[in-house]
């Protein structure tokens, strides 16, 4: 059985999770980044540039939307934080703007990133173009095929997309490759990691750039609704959009924090990405966290219809929040997510990303599961928009659009 708690990370730890499980050769880069986090990120001129760029280039603040028709279906009062309306189409932009400005101020000339679905790659390419970096994006060869439109968007913004042919040729291999590049080129290169995973200081750095989601939402909630939501719900891949919205409500104990993981074909099938529900403690990509692995410690390949949730690890802070009981982690299967995707589109005219649809799917079953009383007010992070998923949707579920049949499985089923 994987690990008794025989390993307690020291640097940047969240309880028994986090730390720096990387090669000695990366220490200079991580030390430099941590120093920059403590000095540059905390400076008022950085904060000003970050805020202004988010406002003028990326379109913050994003709205809080009450979705009346969808609420009726769920037997809840549902408010969406609209990160789907952020430039680039997802919350990812908050982090790339923050790290992009930081890398610039650190004097780096080159940024590299990993991407699975291509969302983080696109966001990195956009910020790379704006700030004048040489940008290289590593992407599993299989994902390059599956996500062709996003490859084009990255290239249009001037980034070089490198297909990763090793291992399983997916996101985890892209991260391995980015770590290798960074080790060899750390003097002129910043690794712009896309979620709250990785070695310290990344989980804290990325989290802090996404705090704006929760801060805005809490303010908007106070102004428009009053009081606090009963629950804050977000999908969890690596966990960045979730931690970004959770953080503002962490001290409000009466607010449930609910992360929704990809249940894929169902947790019994073994084909899922529900790392916090089904994983065990392990070391992955520089952190000690909950991991999907076999008894020998070989990392397993996850499955989700949402490429952005298809990751065998999870941010260490989520493992910690789970253990101390501050956050709860549920899951939604591929089918439930697709139904939520269709339902939100049909009832509200909002097409969410497949990833975000997992959070929305949870809302559709929360009252039935007895988790909330009817009419409870909940806040969902709509982390991205679904345009990127239309090709996949057409391929896998195209028979459900239009014609007589689709209505049968629609919102009122």
């Amino acid at each position: 059985m994987p690990s008794k708690a025989d390993l307690t990370p020291r640097k940047g730890a969240f309880g028994a999770y986090g730390g720096r499980y990387v090669s000695e050769l990366l220490v200079p880069a991580l030390d430099e980044l941590e120093e920059a986090r403590k000095t540059i990120v905390r400076s008022s001129s950085f904060k000003r540039e970050f805020r202004e760029t988010l406002r003028e280039w990326a379109g913050r603040p994003t709205p809080l939307t009450y979705v009346a028709n969808f609420s009726k279906l769920c037997n809840l009062q549902v408010y969406l934080k609209r990160e789907d309306l952020l430039h680039g189409g997802a919350h990812k932009t908050n982090n790339v703007v923050g790290q992009g400005i930081l890398a610039k101020r650190m004097g780096k000339k080159r940024i590299i990133a990993e991407t699975g679905a291509g969302q983080h790659g696109v966001a990195t390419a956009m910020v790379g173009a704006r700030l004048g970096f040489e940008t290289v994006v590593y992407m599993g060869a299989r994902d390059v095929e599956r996500q062709a439109p996003n490859v084009k968007r990255m290239q249009l913004c001037g980034a070089t997309v490198v297909p990763v042919e090793t291992g399983s040729q997916t996101l985890k291999d892209a991260i391995n490759e980015a770590l290798r590049d960074w080790t060899a080129n750390l003097e002129n290169t910043h690794y712009l990691l896309g979620t709250v995973c990785g070695p310290d200081p990344f989980p804290r750095l990325v989290r802090d750039f996404h705090r704006v989601i929760g801060k805005e939402a809490k303010q908007q909630w106070g102004d428009r609704v009053g009081g606090l939501p009963r629950a804050v719900v977000a999908c969890v891949g690596g966990g960045s959009n979730a931690i970004g919205i959770f953080k503002a409500f962490e001290k409000d104990r009466e607010v449930d924090l609910v992360g929704v993981e990809p249940g894929g074909h169902g947790l019994e099938s073994g084909e899922h990405g529900a790392t916090l529900s089904k994983g065990t403690v392990g070391l992955l990509h520089g952190a000690r966290t909950s991991v999907m692995q076999d008894p020998f410690g070989q990392i397993l390949e996850p499955h989700s219809v949402a490429a952005g949730l298809d990751y065998p690890g999870v941010g260490p802070e989520h493992a910690y929040l789970r253990d101390i009981g501050r956050a709860r982690y549920e899951w939604a299967t591929d089918d439930e997510a697709i139904e939520a995707f269709e339902t939100l589109a049909r009832t509200e005219g909002i097409i969410p990303a497949f990833e975000s649809a997992h959070a929305i799917a949870y809302a559709m079953k929360a009252v039935k599961l007895g988790h909330y009383e009817p009419g409870a007010r909940i806040l969902i992070n709509c982390s991205g928009r679904g345009d990127k998923d239309l090709d996949t949707y057409r391929k896998l579920y195209g028979h459900r659009i239009g014609g007589g049949v689709s209505g049968a499985k629609g919102a009122h089923a």
């Binding site: 059985m1 994987p2 690990s3 008794k4 025989d6 390993l7 307690t8 990370p9 020291r10 640097k11 730390g19 720096r20 499980y21 990387v22 090669s23 000695e24 050769l25 220490v27 200079p28 090793t166 291992g167 399983s168 985890k172 291999d173 991260i175 391995n176 770590l179 290798r180 080790t183 060899a184 750390l186 403690v281 392990g282 070391l283 992955l284 990509h285 520089g286 000690r288 991991v291 692995q293 008894p295 020998f296 410690g297 070989q298 990392i299």
Partner: protein
């Protein structure tokens, strides 16, 4: 085996040439034959790895070696089996384990270290459990008599080198080039300077690896004060060439390709006591 045997080897002989092999590459059986060949040609130590699917500190050559070994189902238990065979055949050749952290973590430190010792390991280096995170593992190694090694690189500060060296009882594994593993040509002078600086700064044996591919580099490394020169990616490339030449069968052509690559380096090493 244990740390004691490694220390004996260091007392008996100043310079050691070591071959790095991923256990089970390309098959469990041929992997044993490769170890045997390396020792016959003049390797006086072995660095052995256990196949891992996410070798993030390795370049393409050793990544592929890992994948070949995984395809041969060389998981932790099978890999220990190969080690045991090597140890039985060559009881005086120290074997230093180089293993990714999650394999050690998943098995539990106590159990992993017990099994490594039973299989004949002299020391353990886990490249991705950073010094700051490694206290528990070091304590287990120490209590059970397995040597403990640490990595350092060209950018490791002198202050940090001293800190690392204080806890080490096996050797300091110095990475010759900043980057991932991979055979490189040339760079002799830069390696020489680096090895001289590091060897002078610490009083533990210095082992140099990551990128060595010629007798000239091996000589340079020894001349500059290193006690061990490790050849890895260069040999992995030779194994790959052998594998690509035809069906593996009894592995004869893989061993030949390997021997052809290793022999000139072994010849150079023989000139050093």
């Amino acid at each position: 085996m244990s740390l004691v045997h490694l220390q004996e080897a260091f007392r008996a002989k100043k310079h050691h040439l070591s071959a790095f092999l991923v256990l089970g590459d390309p098959t469990l059986e041929v992997s044993f034959e490769l170890a045997k060949k390396a020792i016959e040609l003049g390797a006086t130590m072995l660095e052995v790895g256990i196949a891992y699917g996410d070798p993030s500190a390795d370049g393409p050559a050793i990544q592929k070696a890992n994948l070949r070994a995984m395809a041969a189902e060389a998981h932790t238990e099978a890999a220990f089996g190969v080690m045991r065979r090597i140890h039985e055949a060559f009881p005086h050749v120290p074997m230093n384990l180089l293993v990714y952290g999650n394999l050690v973590h998943a098995r539990g430190f106590e159990r992993f270290v017990d099994e490594a010792l039973a299989a004949g390991a002299s020391s353990l280096l886990v490249p991705d459990i950073l010094f700051e995170e490694g206290e528990e593992l070091r304590a287990v190694c120490k209590a059970k008599g397995l040597g403990h090694a640490e990595l350092a690189g060209p950018l490791t500060t002198p202050k940090r080198l001293v800190r690392l060296a204080k806890t080490i009882d096996a050797y300091l594994y110095l990475v010759a080039f900043q980057g991932v593993t991979g055979a490189r040509t040339g760079g002799g002078d830069a390696i020489g300077e680096l090895v001289t600086r590091v060897s002078a700064g610490v009083d533990v044996p210095v082992c140099v690896g990551f990128g060595l591919s010629s007798g000239e580099q091996v000589g340079k490394v020894f001349d500059s004060g290193a006690r061990v020169a490790v050849v890895g990616s260069y040999l992995a490339n030779a194994i790959e060439a052998g594998v690509n030449a035809g069906p593996i069968g009894d592995g004869r052509h893989v061993v030949e390709s390997f021997a052809k690559a290793f022999a000139p380096l072994a010849e150079t090493a023989k000139r050093y006591g």
